[in-house]
């Protein structure tokens, strides 16, 4: 089994699942969104602090979910901190297109660190786990719904 699982569960994924980064409540967040996939039971609360210039100054999360959703949330918080809303939006689009397999011409390497999650393409039932944190972030940036689901 050990070979095949690495397509989906790379060591980086296990690492972020064991020790999720930015896993904390943020008292001074100015956007908070609940991401919840009731069929799976994946649940995250995403906290975002956006500065006056539109920079994501801080982002953190809490919750309980599978290794894919936890690692995806953890990686996301590391990467988008310091980005502008537009930069984060662009990355979300790339990530979404690659993980949902909409665009095979895209090289997962363009995702940088996030490329470790590209293997989810081969597991359609698990794509929603990887994208839940990103949809939550998008909702936070656009100040849309307070709760998000990718099911």
């Amino acid at each position: 089994m050990l070979d095949s699982i690495r397509d989906l569960y790379q060591e980086v994924v296990f690492d972020h699942n064991r020790n999720p980064r930015n896993f904390r409540v943020m008292a001074d967040a100015n956007r908070t969104v609940e991401g919840y996939n009731p069929l799976c039971g994946d649940r995250i609360t995403l906290y975002v602090k956006i500065g006056e210039t539109g920079i994501i100054e801080d982002v953190s999360f809490q919750g309980a979910g599978c290794a894919i959703s936890t690692a995806s949330a953890s990686l996301m918080t590391e990467i988008v901190r310091g980005q502008t809303e537009q930069e984060a939006e662009h990355l979300f689009n790339l990530f979404h297109r690659i993980t949902t397999g909409q665009d095979d011409s895209l090289d997962p390497a363009t995702l940088g660190k996030l490329a470790v999650l590209a293997g989810v393409r081969a597991y359609p039932a698990r794509v929603k786990c990887a994208t839940l944190p990103w949809h939550s972030l998008q909702s936070a940036l656009k100040n849309q719904a307070d709760t998000v689901s990718t099911e």
Binding site: L2, G41, G65, I68
Partner: protein, 413 residues
Amino acid sequence: MTTATERAGYPLERIRNDFPILQQSIHGHPLAYLDNAASTQKPRAVIDCIRRVYETDYSNVHRGVHSLSQRATDRYEAARCRLQAFLKARHSHEIIFVRGATEGINLVAQSFGRSHLKAGDEILITAMEHHANIVPWQMLSEQIGTRLVVAPIDRQGELQLDALIDRLSAKTRLVAVTQVSNALGTINPVREIIEQAHARGIPVLVDGAQAVPHLAVDVTALDCDFYVLSGHKLYGPSGIGVLYGKEQWLKAMPPYQGGGDMIRRVTFEKTEYNGLPYKFEAGTPNIVDTIALGAAVDYLEAIGLDAIAAHEAELLAYATRRALEIPGLTLIGTARHKGAILSFTLDRIHPHDIGTLLDMQGIAIRAGHHCAMPVMDFFGVPATARASFGLYNTLAEVDALMDGLGEIIKVFR
């Protein structure tokens, strides 16, 4: 390794050969199909039956004077008699064909509920019900103002029978209870529940979706008022199921849906409804799958439900013993009387990861809330992993599952 049932003559190898779908590999491993509580696989007898009806006997039923229509009608009605015998109902017209247990419950909620219940009346269910035995009653409550009352379960996942009896009030108009819990495996004392309810003049609906594949059911001896089942959990086709109802109730209930076949005479002013069972079977029914459901019941009874139950009990006992040896594994549902369902969680490993990682080893289980979210809330878990056994499973498959869990724990460490 063989079970005592096998040594006593249970033809496990022949049974496995009857199921074409089991003869395959998934991700390079032999398939171990342990998701039988979600749906069961189909024996060749059922698959062949479907093909043969379409090739030789197919037409619409109850309509034509031509030969094919007569043959299709005869076979369709023979399936009704077959299901009557299987459930040991008094009359074949007490067998109503529906899409599945879910539609059966919805039929009772809408037809019986709307005609016999009124605002303030109570429907008593248990805390271990499938959503299919919760939501139809909530819908009815929104429509006519009935109230849903829930009998609690304990930490083992057993129904608290005394608490259920306490909740049988002067306002209770129906008890709706599952015979076997799909999320926990618990077998409920339905006979006792029915006796207690009947002593107070309250009818009882039994959700038998998880029970019929595993234990012999006698609706006349049980004396239940309604009983529902799904064909696809019974090694039969999907999209077909049965609502059994006592004649006295079915006669007193209005039709569920209107259309062809359920009428005797229609004018624009008034429609005279057909008698039982056709009053509840509007439109062209699921003809071929109904006939094939009869074939599935033939197949099960040829093996014998008692033999199947004994085989599955051994699989469950062995699986439970091995599961308890796995560090960090918690069983969800440890009732004294259980069907062949093993629901569990692993420390710090989400059930969906367990499901995907077992699939990579060829093992099919269910991960999720099993359409029983209140049960998950009660045990304080977002989801569980669930292995559920059927008549074709082997001890080697239980070993594959447990070894597979060991591998998963290793990679997550």
